[in-house]
Symmetry: D2
Subunit: 345 residues, 4 copies
């Protein structure tokens, strides 16, 4: 069976790998569509994501949907032929974090296509893959595979919105119009944000931001005052969502968030220490919080996609065959040409 | 009337100043006791607190208690001879922050002895001073003036504890055993923290920390592993309270707070930008929040002092006459000899 | 000047009343439109709202918008000719409730057209009326007066939604499709509720509920199982909004809310004691909370109406001249024919 | 092996029962001490707890501690001879409630000695009993078995305090000075409540309430005004904890809780529908919330007992041999003579 295997930085191969074994509570799934994520690109480009380096060959991929091929003997509620979105998270369910509702921070998490543990947890960019039954959420036939595969990054955005607190009638700024940034715009709008401002270095993603409901977009570095126009009177935004991982973007947000407001770091992991204006954080009582992965939001994401309340079509840039692996990754990495690129096998 | 007036860095004088006028809703108070705060020391030592420079002579002092001498004609509930703790905050009451319960972040705040506005708001280190009636909270005769004057820094600590979230049964680390750090220990213990660890550079304040209930103290730089012993298994503390303003202390806290935990910056304003491990903040979903001044906690502080549930005696180092102004400020600035020094007139 | 004055139950007259005096921080407003509220109908029908009986003549009306005619000398930001939605709340701003962000529960509240105090606070169903400047929120010319006047009940609904907690992706049931019930549907949808079920005794309001986004409506007493279909497996809804004031409706909601869910009482004041299944409230850890009036949500409501994110057109039933007072109140009271009826002078 | 088996109302026998089988992740425990709970008394007195009737013989008991006798092959961290407090909860860990941090509301909960399911889950009043390893929390040798067995009701109280929200500096009223009521007093005091008022029908438990820190006790029916003295000015208490299950007690609490305050139903299950002043709940925006069992609070309880921060000695009334089963239950049911009675085998 073919799979997209990362060996080292810039060394991504379409290898022949053995099929996974099927446990009693597991399901074998035929690959439908898989989105290339920023972390996949980071493994590809740098051989690592943050502190987690690829130390042995690892199948990439964690934004996937497919069709059930085979079910373990203890599986109920799923049957061959069913179409499913697959949650890449497999928390232990029994540690204190899991028991207290923080399963997404489980110390023993097994997350598809991640080098955080060694041996690495294999990903799902392969002709077939195995998941625990509770990772699989059925999707109606009306939902295309690419849309179903978007449940994962949408869940990331929904979780970020939950970390942002109440948004009804609030003014929100989103730094970064990549896939997560744009999904944050959709989710913030769904949560009733009154007015959403989006910043980015590139024009094309900002065009999409406006299309999906941003009231205003700012092209960083191109507009003389940029966000600075909002610095007066101790800040204008109730909530800022930082989805670039760039220290300069984070710094700009702290200048425009009002006293008692909230800054959320989400989606892109910044590189180690970042200068933060802690004097402002203190004097304005700003909450600066991290958002990481998701929990129950995965099922919410599937429901929102199935009902059409969230329409991800504007960010689906291309679908390419796994045989074009290098081209697909190159396109996914080019922010002027693509937001979200999917693979098919 | 004599008052402690700051003119510039290192230029603090006992000047003769005119009495303030008494408005209809105001009260004239005879000075009882006044604590020297870190911000008073900063005005004295550097002529500024953070971004706020002394641009014209200003009476210092905002941790004060005294005896009502005279009441404006519209004042009810206060009468000459009553002993009061005085809340130095005078928010506008009508802006959006005030209306939404964030009066302590009021954009039009008048806070005793602060150069944040220009003209500066005069402080209360003077033989007599004027306050709005709603700033005055009566204290029983059994509460010494010095204790009553401690309501202000205790309110700062109580507000920080509120910003820290629920502490019942939690493990807490406090960085810094200055006045605010020690009051945080008292307040965290009152809020039911299970186990409190305190760090400081000096031994004497740590001795007091143990006396008032810290389970463990760590002398930073003197103990080989210091807080590092708590870094394993992704952090041990539920909540960290940073009360030093020192970047190194903040950095150490981010290494020992568990996933889903909380870091509060309080009491000491750090100098501008501070490196923060935003990757860890994100991957562990840590909340990093500022705590600034206080609101309703002032009345709570007075009640806790009056009922004896909080006993501040261990931090009351000395009471000195205003005529010894330089000596009093020198003592207050020497952390090996003093925690909280009070003035009397 | 003519005004709609309630004298006793069923005794509502178009009286000639003197103009109010204009204080320095006040504004005189020419009546634009005023919605007849359930409490106006209660004063009219029963001479009382809950415990508050009409003891002397009182001008009714608190859902109003108009045009500034004259401003007091201390008023800034408002000028003759400006169109404003008027918040009927005038909290004292200085009590503990006001200072702690609960100004809408102020013990010294002066609310337009309310007999809660004696002397009563006069309402705004009059050719002209006086309001404090901070009660007036400018509205663009594009917003019809009737729509601007709907800011008040929309604020009630928005506050209820805030009391309901996070709704993003949640399943919500609304009991009652009167004006508040329908505005709750709009607000819950705006807040991202996944699926909204609405119940009522009458078909016409349920038709409107479907029009504005309810996924399902249930005509109580007409459908064999009604909400009962959702009782299985310990309840299906995350949040229930009770907007009828009817004990039977409340009881039905407790049967269909899931463990850890929330029931909000809003809009209609139930008559004194109501049987509540406290055993279920306890064993399922349900939160049963009250929602009363609103605070900052008034400004949010105006902004949502001005931007078009909330479209109240479907609930605007009729606009009638004050000279037809009895007919207007009769129409407003007939739920089969009208949702929200407005007066004009 | 002998065990205390309930057959029907008033039919409690010391039967000979077979030992339970030991699963790989389970532990066999020698009974140390077991507290008789209100629900044990209800099974004994009425053959039921609320809706849950005893339909077949069931071993009672869920407040237990003991010594590890034998461990299953997959058990780590526990060894024969270790003393443990045993959490009677065994949630499924995989349902939505468990995953979202509400494991104590798990729809598939197996709780020791409960007839909520059929077949019933057997309890632990037996010479030996089996528990899953994750139910067992080691306790130091310094903690007597009776104290360790009190971790369970203390966990109930701690969970109730968590449901009550922040208590630091708050005024609290507790209705009912039974075991849960008194543990609530301890826990509320630990959480920093400023002033605690306790009501009960009997004098002896109120004496203990004062001993453990209640500022005031009110003997209901004996004092002319009782709680009524606190009804003025729209209520005085921030939080009310209802631990009697008596409708009259609940009603009295709604009259003395301030606007924006909170009422928690805990410990005793009221009989079905109870009249609630929903008009007051609405107009004062009171939160009325249920508290049921506990989750992570069990480990917190053990830690607080082990560190001595909570001293339950004042409520430990007697320890009796299982051979005196009827006498022990009779004593436990007599509130004038006993608060908490323990069994030993």
């Amino acid at each position: 069976m073919r799979a997209a295997v990362i060996h080292a930085a810039r060394d991504l191969r379409l290898d022949d790998v053995p099929e996974g074994e099927l446990g009693p509570d597991e399901v074998r799934i035929t690959f439908g569509a898989g989105g290339i994520c920023g972390s996949d690109l980071s493994y590809y480009g740098k051989g690592r994501v943050g502190d987690f380096a690829v130390r042995r060959p690892m199948v990439l991929g964690h934004e996937v949907a497919g069709t059930v091929l085979e079910t373990g003997r203890a599986v109920a509620g799923l049957a061959p032929g069913m179409r499913v979105a697959v949650d890449p998270s497999r928390p232990c369910l029994s540690c204190a974090d899991c028991r207290e509702g923080r399963g997404h921070l489980c110390r023993d998490m097994r997350f598809f296509g991640s080098a955080a543990r060694d041996p690495h947890v294999q990903g799902a960019f392969s002709e077939r893959f195995v998941a625990r039954a509770d990772q699989c959420v059925p999707v109606p036939d009306t939902v295309p595979m690419r849309v179903a595969a978007t449940a994962e990054p949408l869940a990331v955005a929904l979780h970020g919105i939950r970390r942002a607190g109440e948004l009804l009638g609030r003014d929100v700024v989103v730094a970064g119009a990549g896939p997560i940034g744009l999904l944050l715009v959709m989710a913030a709008r769904l949560a009733g944000a009154a007015r959403i401002t989006v910043t980015d270095l590139a024009e094309e993603p900002l065009r999409i931001a406006r299309e999906i409901g941003a009231a205003e977009t700012i092209r960083v570095g191109q507009e003389p005052d940029g966000l600075a126009r909002y610095e007066a009177d101790r800040g204008r935004f109730d909530v800022a969502l930082e989805a670039t991982g760039a220290p300069a973007a984070l710094a700009s947000l702290f200048r425009v968030v009002r006293p008692g407001g909230r800054v959320v770091q989400i989606g892109m992991m910044p590189p180690g220490d970042v200068p933060v204006p802690v004097n402002r954080l203190m004097a304005r009582e700003i909450d600066f919080v991290g958002s990481f992965r998701f929990g129950a939001e995965f099922r919410t994401a599937v429901a929102l996609l199935a009902s059409g309340r969230i329409d991800v079509a504007p960010i689906l840039s291309a679908e390419m065959p796994a045989s074009d692996l290098p081209a697909a990754f190159a396109l996914a990495a080019d922010r002027t040409r693509a937001i979200k690129v999917h693979l098919r096998f």
